[in-house]
Symmetry: C2
Subunit: 283 residues, 2 copies
């Protein structure tokens, strides 16, 4: 996780900006002027251009591009390449999981040299180690990282994740699995290559995770549009102000809706406001 931590320190900003192009997220006129795939590309590259000197990382959402088929996946490739060329850390939000040689194929896709070559990728832990290790091995071989879903921010996450599993909720067992698998990859800043996704809509859970797993880096969705603020986000960090990156997707990407004006200027203003709020909360 060292590379991500160093990029966060350089920018003084533990924010990852989501890139989730959907028709309703595009500023007016985009879809009149351009075919969908070209509109998504222009929007994605525009956001990267607007944010590259403010945020250390972007998180393209695979589903949004995949909805346009192979044309959308080609846009995703270009978006990832452009973000990395701009010096950004790229977390592919793919939530993939499979087993054996199939998991290896996904790991090649997301953490290999070609295709969707990200610095990190999100994975789903339901299949156990077999669904995580191929990604982790690929990540470790090139200084990348993996984030396993632990406690997600959606309302129905309680249905399975909160089930009592021998005195602790299932999500705690998923976190324990991630701690075990990541144990041999702790970097110079004290964090392993296998982090956890844990939503900001459950602040008590984040606090419990931070105390219990000192070597686990958190990717925290739910800031802004989903309701969490900087004081809740601060619970995810250690005493050095490290250990987490806070995601904002709609609040930054669709800032044009609330702030008006050009979408790039609005996204930039929103990202600066978020950065300053997080700096205040962590100081």
């Amino acid at each position: 996780m060292d590379k991500l931590i160093e990029k966060i320190s350089e920018k003084g900003n533990p924010t990852v900006a989501g890139l989730d192009p959907r028709p309703s997220h595009l500023p007016p006129g985009f879809l009149d002027r351009l075919p969908p795939a070209e509109a998504y590309l222009e929007f994605s590259l525009g956001l990267i251009d607007a944010l590259a000197d403010i945020v250390p990382a972007v998180k393209p959402q695979a589903a949004c591009y995949e909805a346009l088929g192979s044309a959308g996946m080609s846009v995703l490739e270009k978006t990832i390449t452009c973000a990395r060329e701009a010096g950004l850390y790229v977390i592919g939000d793919a939530k993939r999981a499979d087993i054996g040689s199939t998991a290896e194929a996904y790991a090649e896709a997301w953490l290999g040299d070609g295709a969707f070559s990200c610095d990190a990728v999100t994975v789903n832990p339901y299949l156990g180690s077999d669904g995580i290790i191929p990604f982790l091995d690929a990540a470790k071989s090139r200084g990348g990282a993996v984030f396993a879903l632990v406690k997600t921010s959606n309302p129905s996450s309680s249905e399975l994740q909160d089930i009592d599993a021998g005195g602790a909720p299932l999500w705690m067992r998923a976190a324990e699995l991630a701690e075990k698998l990541g144990g041999d990859s702790i970097g110079i800043h004290g964090y392993s290559s296998l982090g956890a996704v844990t939503g900001l809509t459950h602040p008590a859970d984040i606090r419990a995770l931070r105390m219990r797993f000192p070597h686990m880096f958190f990717l925290v969705p739910g800031y802004g549009a989903q309701g969490g603020g900087a004081s809740e986000a601060a619970l995810a960090f250690d005493s050095r102000g490290l250990g987490a990156i806070i995601n904002s997707s709609r609040a930054i990407m669709c800032a044009w809706k609330s702030r008006g004006g050009d979408y790039k200027t609005a996204a930039r203003a929103e990202a600066l406001a978020m950065r300053d709020s997080l700096r205040d909360a962590l100081s």
Copy 2:
């Protein structure tokens, strides 16, 4: 699930053939003669041609195509289109899951009119209803289906799926969730639009699931290369011989390795042998 059940009855064969192109699965010469994406396309279409009059369904594995990036995803689009034109039911093995509008984007991709337009898709249940309903809604609107992972066939599936969750393993809770969500979509043959993936490596679990969930259709991996045989597979069926489809990927696709000769002839022979074994076990 009616459409799949009718296709199974037409062929008298509850087999779905996996399409998992990987370099090691291609017959000799393919990768010398063709670039990877073209090799995957020729192999996929060749298997469809060899099997279309024997099996009712194919299951392309998203990861294998995704490993080649957008070029691979273009091959996947062509493979799905070709399979449907050949009258085959197509189950996209994508194991996707996300929440809200992101899950809707995946559902558009896999069960919409464009892109990877399958009859059914596999999903991961870890996120709860939010990660399943958008797929189920898309499937119901067009007579398709969804298969939620319940008990997978990999060795580490026990790590989370077998955790005791209040007197039953977690996988049973996932099955209960699937039963509840699918309850309003039971078709004329008695099965809901939300089925379950349950591996053949756990025959006792399949038997328990078959007894407990009479309206749940099973997609059963693990036949052949992963070790399960026709007698174990028979446990997944109801007294009418309905209620399940058995997947074979490597055993059919790579039959050229054991049987020799042309890969299409070998795949065809293997699929016929599997069909006859299942017919015997179910008679």
